[in-house]
Amino acid sequence: MNPSLPKRRTNLVLPPVASQVTAGIRYRRAVSAASSVLSYAGLILLALLVLVPLWWVMVSSFTTRETVWANVLPFSFRAFLPEEFTLAAYQEIFSRGFGRAIANTLFVGAVTVVLTILICAMAGFAFARFQFRGKNALWVLVLLTLMVPSELTVIPSYTLVSTFGWVNSWAALVVPAVGNATAIFLFRQFFAGIPQDLFDAARVDGAPWGRVFLNIVLPLSRPVMVTSGILIFLGQWNSFFWPMLVAPDAAYRQIQVAVAMIGVDQELTSWDLIFASSTIAALVPLLLVLPMQRFYVSSIMGSGIK
């Protein structure tokens, strides 16, 4: 293609009268200005749709129970500022064991992240770097698990947990989550892109595969460890149905279950508690994702290109 062609579609055939040209340019400028004003209006409207409910929930969590609805009906914009600032709701949920639920969830999330990364990196490495019989069939078997949501097998899985005697245990929360096809996929893609020479060089002195994996392969994969780590942690932090079934005890209770226990009975009047617990449950993943949105986005994108 001729590189001297202008980038944008402009009028290559000039109209004969000069005044028409300037009028045309002015018209097009006006159209593009109007369209960018409309674009920004649309973007701002959408941003408000995201931010207003989040902001309102957060603000309401710092308000006393009596004044939670004070500026909502009848509505005034003061609904978006705390009427009487207080931390009472937070004090109450923490006195009811919400801190324990946060700690439980952080613990389960951390253990799951470490185990999943180790085990799925191993599997991804095997799929990327070894030739063995049945490899393609096994790869399909791994990917097929993405098509059947675990929610549909939750009842037989629950029976399995109870057969193992794992109801109300850390194992019930962690172990079923460790075999993670998305993580295996991400690691396989990453290892497949690394030059073979690197692995050959590492094995020249006859080092066993185990040591090569721990000393060379795993440290190389730090970018995938970060991205899949975020996905795995968020998966556990936001998980609800499974922990509600297998570990409802206060000793193991996960944060979404704790929030739901406060929130499920909205006939109660402890609105401020729902607002406070929801704020914490939303804020942790937001704070985690915001500084790392680039990583998080790229990991979701990576898992989407299947």
């Binding site: 959408l46 009848p74 059947v148 097998t153 937001l286």
Partner: protein, 288 residues
Amino acid sequence: MARSERLAPWLFLAPALLLLLVWRYFPIVWGLRESFYTNALSFSGGREFVGLDNFRWLLDDPTFWKSLEVTMIFNVIVNPLQTILAFFLALFINRSIRGIGAFRTILLLPIAISINISALAWGLALNAEYGLVNGMLEAVGLERQLFLRSVDQAMPTMIGIVSWIGVPLWALFFLAGLQNIPADVIEAARLDGATRFQTLYQIVLPLMRRVLAFVLVSTTVANLTLFAPPYLLTRGGPQESTNLLLYEAWQRGFVYSDLGASAAMTMVLLAITVVVVVIEFAFLRPAD
């Protein structure tokens, strides 16, 4: 040496494959088997092979049929809706105008939040008696609405609530796809005189086919198996208008202790999911 070389891949694979077999494949097979027994999936008490009876009882069960109907209507609306809105949101935030980065960050925020929190927050905002939305409606002179308390409005309201997370989430995948399209492909089309619409329809859409298939299948899988919104917001009501099938299956199994019916319902849902996903894949398979 040669033997340990042959063994190496299997040692690397063993833990992950074992976990997938035990926690993903075994429950599918077992769930299917158990749906042919009374007292399914429990170890206490006698159990008896009843063949297809659990399924036959479902056929005579009006609650099941109503729940199936609600689930199907919900999915027929919500999956195309989320896919289309996500595609346009991605197009909208894929442009290079000033400050777009900040808007992208904000518009993608809901992705990090769990569906429960979104359901609770919107449940409060849309509360029929106190809610923020009703306050705003009154402030601009409109009538209050019942939202989740109304037989007619509960399902549309729930569709809106789950889309608040769903649309940005799927838009992210479309955004990834759009950014993979080389800019000169679009420019060439525009130079040849294609209109914006022609470019979109004849250049962009065909290139996005894989992403489109992935998003459509993922929304289907996610929305066929929703549990938290009816559990937290409506308990399936009013008048079973939001009684999605997975919630009904949970209720049968864990509230009414009818594990046979529960297992049969999940198997029906599993079969529907597999069939719909296969159809969607076949429909969207690239022409080559």
